[in-house]
Symmetry: C2
């Protein structure tokens, strides 16, 4: 696909000033929100072409084919766009059952909990696999 | 609460250069992703104090107490923070069953669909209430 002349469905997507859009990955079966990452036009197009989630890594400034190191590929079941066209929702099959680099199913493993007068973000979900074994 | 000296749990949240963080609202029962909006420090603190979702409206540049006009208040069941501390997830009870200003349950009502050679974002979820009746 010639990225110089993107198709209409790509032009409908409102990328921000940096050419990025937030993308939420949600487990297609359980509905669990797994992670949020960013996509640029190339990442979005490659995602639809390959059926696997591809993001733009802002820290590494390059395409991030989710699972390329960890094996924790996300097979895309469905792509959705919100009413403002500025957020993407991916319903995915999360291979390995782990989306987070900490070895947890979801990146949203910290819950705001109040114990007495103390309020804290508390890790409430288990580590399923040691990260050192994931990125070995 | 003195916003000049926010508590530790607020300081752990990584707001962006504009002082904002994306916040995903998810239906606590069905798991449906309802919408994404933005929070600043005040919105986050007021959300925890009132138990109702409060966002920062970037277009209106003011606090947006979700449902203040529509009645479609979001009662917060749980707040989560992701591994990078730069996205908030709210599990909510969506009063009225409508989160979107278009009168739909979710803002993510457009699905990428392929029909023959045509690829398009297609509205696949029903309008539950005429927006003119919501914001009357």
């Amino acid at each position: 696909m010639n990225i110089e002349t993107p198709p209409d469905w790509v032009n409908e997507v409102k990328f921000d000033g940096d050419g990025l859009i937030p993308a939420i990955a949600q487990d297609a079966s359980s509905g669990e929100v797994l992670m949020v990452a960013w996509m640029n036009q190339m990442a979005l197009i490659e995602t639809t072409q390959t059926g696997r989630a591809v993001y733009w890594s802002r820290s590494r400034q390059k395409l991030w084919r989710k699972g390329e190191e960890s094996g924790h590929v996300q097979e895309v079941v469905e792509l959705r766009l919100d009413c403002d066209a500025d957020v993407i929702l991916l319903k995915v099959n999360q291979l390995g059952g782990i989306a987070c680099h900490t070895g947890r199913a979801s990146c949203f493993f910290r819950k705001l909990e109040t114990t007495g007068s103390k309020v804290a973000w508390t890790a409430v979900d288990p580590v399923l696999k040691d990260p050192e074994l994931i990125y070995k």
